[in-house]
């Protein structure tokens, strides 16, 4: 039977965290390469040489 004192949100979350937490045993999972690097065309390289690299968003 579930205790009556887990009837509110905080108790529910706390109980789930306490009793159901995953074991801590990290394992790396690096992203795999699935696409070939994008090659710039000669025209794009020429445009960059003339006008410079396009500004990146957020700078």
């Amino acid at each position: 039977m579930i205790d009556s004192d887990v009837s509110n949100q905080a108790d529910l979350i706390s109980a789930v965290r306490r009793r159901g937490a995953l074991p801590q045993a990290p394992l790396a999972m690096p992203a795999q390469r699935l696409e070939r690097p994008r090659r710039l065309s000669r025209w794009a390289l020429l445009a960059m040489a003339i006008w410079g690299r396009p500004a990146r968003a957020g700078r």
Partner: protein, 594 residues
């Protein structure tokens, strides 16, 4: 030497199957050109011949797979007869599912493993990506209920992600990055999956016996189907799929399939090889990889691991959609995922067969578009046909009628129908000779089920063709369908609901008939088996969603329901009868990592 022998058998099977399919496609191509030459060849005849080549190749490929399955008996895989010496976790990713049913499955599987004496080496982890706060609240409540039921503290876990980045693949990746090092193997399930304890243990033993085995896929059987459509799919999965699966295993060899669930993976291999990147660009072709399972199988093979499907593993179950509309929704996601694989056909380092498997998955959906294009081209063909020259011979005063090519047309139609029907009839014959029909109600009832299945799928095929064609066109035009939550339940649809889902199919069928009547009246009898069901789509959809009443489509799972399935039903009944969570409790925030 054993491995080299089986590699040789795989190469031989692939070669024979591909050659036979190519020959069948060429035969259809030439036969159609002969048919078209009757009134003079024109460019539309060339286009139609090319389309019939592609369609026939695809049908013949399916028939070749069935033939390989009928003619082969793969050797029994190696298994470790000793004790279980490894640690395994059973992963249950959920996304807005009904927690009562899902956690009841976890409870009965855990109880079965405990009874088998293997509970200490096998944990369970429910990985929630649920976005709906009310469902999440119920998940939390029923998880605690599950722990109380099973005494599972310390071996049954629950985690709800704060965001569902990467969807199911991201969900599993998140688990591996958090807890993967604690386990040797992971059994990956769906929310509606059920696996017998003995099956899980057998899969672990096979993984222990072959250190090169990266992933082992079982063939899940559909259970708990109630509607006419659901029972038909359940019967097909149980009766035909084992043979097709055997043929697939023969063709794929060590570069086998992963279907995303009811499979076991070697955690270290999966972690090192299967991290999925986001593809450049926006969905549907860019972004997160939707059909991650095929890609993960290809990546494991790329890294040198064996990926295998063992069709002899029993006790692996799943549930399926109960109506055509829910099936079409799920198929839409698969369509987008498969078409997205076109971005990976030239991915670096993949095995050639993995690339072919991607192409196969793409063709599985393009074939509907190819068939529809053939029908449309046939309707408008008379516009391109040159006028008949009744006096082709100089100085001959009498008219020369063009030769009838009805024999070629009929031959082509019989050949194509044969490719569809004959493999299934051969599977019936094989089942009767081997005694397998006993599990399907005996020879006569199995035969009746097969005949009715052939008729019903032939009638419904044009409806599926239209849904798949629409899916392909949506994806190609950039419409991201995402990953809608799976609909479970009895799935009954009213005629009104069926009309809402398929009125565009009715319109398409009626327009096709009208166009044919105007442009090519001779085509009408050939078009009726396709356009007729299209016009009747709402009736077909509504009727097939109703509960099944006959004794057709019996499966071995009906005849002797497993203890596990019975236990699940009992547990579900008991839990549903208990009090609901206290009302008025606000939805909990997402449980984040500690």
């Amino acid at each position: 030497m054993g491995r080299r022998t089986s590699d040789a058998a795989t190469v031989l099977t692939r070669t024979v199957a591909l050659t036979a399919s190519f020959v069948a496609g060429c035969a259809a191509f030439l036969l159609f050109l002969q048919f078209g030459a009757g009134d003079g060849l024109d460019p539309m005849d060339g286009i139609r011949a090319a389309l019939i080549f592609a369609s026939t190749f695809w049908l013949a490929w399916g028939a070749a797979q069935a033939s390989a399955g009928l003619m082969s008996r793969p050797p029994r895989p190696a298994t470790d007869a000793g004790p279980i010496t490894t640690r395994t976790v059973v992963l249950v990713p959920v996304y807005n599912e009904d927690p009562v049913s899902t956690f009841a499955r976890v409870a009965v599987m855990d109880a079965a493993l405990q009874a088998a004496g293997a509970g200490d080496s096998i944990d369970f982890a429910v990985l929630s990506d649920t976005r709906n706060d009310q469902i999440a609240q119920r998940e939390a409540h029923w998880f605690l209920r599950l722990l109380d039921e099973t005494g599972g503290d310390g071996r049954i876990f629950y985690r709800r992600r704060a965001d569902n980045r990467g969807r199911k693949a991201g969900n599993i990746e998140d688990f591996i990055k958090t807890s993967g090092a604690a386990y040797d193997f992971a059994v990956i399930l769906d929310a509606d999956s059920l696996m017998e304890a003995e099956t899980i243990l057998q899969m672990i033993r096979r993984m222990q016996a072959d250190p090169q085995l990266g992933l082992l896929q079982s063939l899940p059987k559909i259970i708990n189907a109630g509607s006419r459509f659901g029972r038909l799919m359940q019967f097909s999965a149980s009766f035909y799929s084992p043979v097709f699966c055997r043929g697939l295993a023969m063709m794929q060899g060590r570069t086998g399939p992963f279907w995303g669930h009811n499979a076991i993976v070697r955690v270290q291999a999966f972690a090192r090889s299967c991290g999925l990147p986001e593809l450049r660009g926006a969905p549907p072709f860019g972004g997160h990889i939707l059909s991650h399972d095929y890609v993960e199988a290809a990546l494991l093979a790329r890294a040198g691991w064996t990926v295998r499907v063992d069709d002899d593993l029993q006790g692996s179950y799943e549930e399926g959609p109960e109506n055509i509309v829910d099936h079409a929704k799920r198929d839409r996601r698969w369509c987008q995922g498969n078409l997205q694989h076109s971005r990976l056909l030239l991915a670096p380092g993949l095995k050639p067969w993995s690339r072919f498997v991607f192409l196969q998955g793409i063709l599985a959906y393009l074939s509907s578009l190819i068939w529809l294009s053939f029908l449309l081209a046939s309707i408008v063909a008379p516009l391109f046909t040159p006028p008949v020259d009744y006096f082709p011979i100089d100085d001959w005063p009498f008219p020369v009628l063009p030769p009838s090519r009805a024999a070629e047309a009929l031959g082509l139609a019989i050949g194509i129908v044969g490719l569809l029907f004959v493999p299934k009839l051969l599977i019936l014959l094989d089942a009767a000779l081997r005694g397998r029909t006993r599990g399907f109600g005996g020879v006569l009832r199995a035969a009746k089920s097969v005949v009715v299945e052939l008729v019903q799928t032939s009638i419904a095929a044009p409806v599926f063709l239209m849904y798949q064609t629409r899916s392909v066109l949506q994806v190609v035009s950039g419409w991201d369908g995402g990953w809608p939550a799976q609909v479970r339940g009895d799935g009954r649809l009213s005629l009104g609901q069926a009309w809402a889902a398929s009125h565009w199919i009715v319109t398409s069928g009626a327009l096709g008939l009208a166009l044919a009547w105007w442009l090519s009246p001779a085509l009408l009898p050939w078009l009726l088996p396709v356009a007729g069901p299209m016009v009747l789509a709402p009736v077909i959809i509504a009727w097939s969603s109703r509960p099944a009443r006959s004794d057709l489509f019996s499966t071995p799972e009906d005849a002797s329901t497993s203890d596990l399935i019975t236990a699940h039903h009992r547990m579900l009944g008991r839990w549903l009868g208990e009090d609901a969570p206290p009302s008025g409790t606000p939805a909990p925030m997402a449980v984040t990592h500690a």
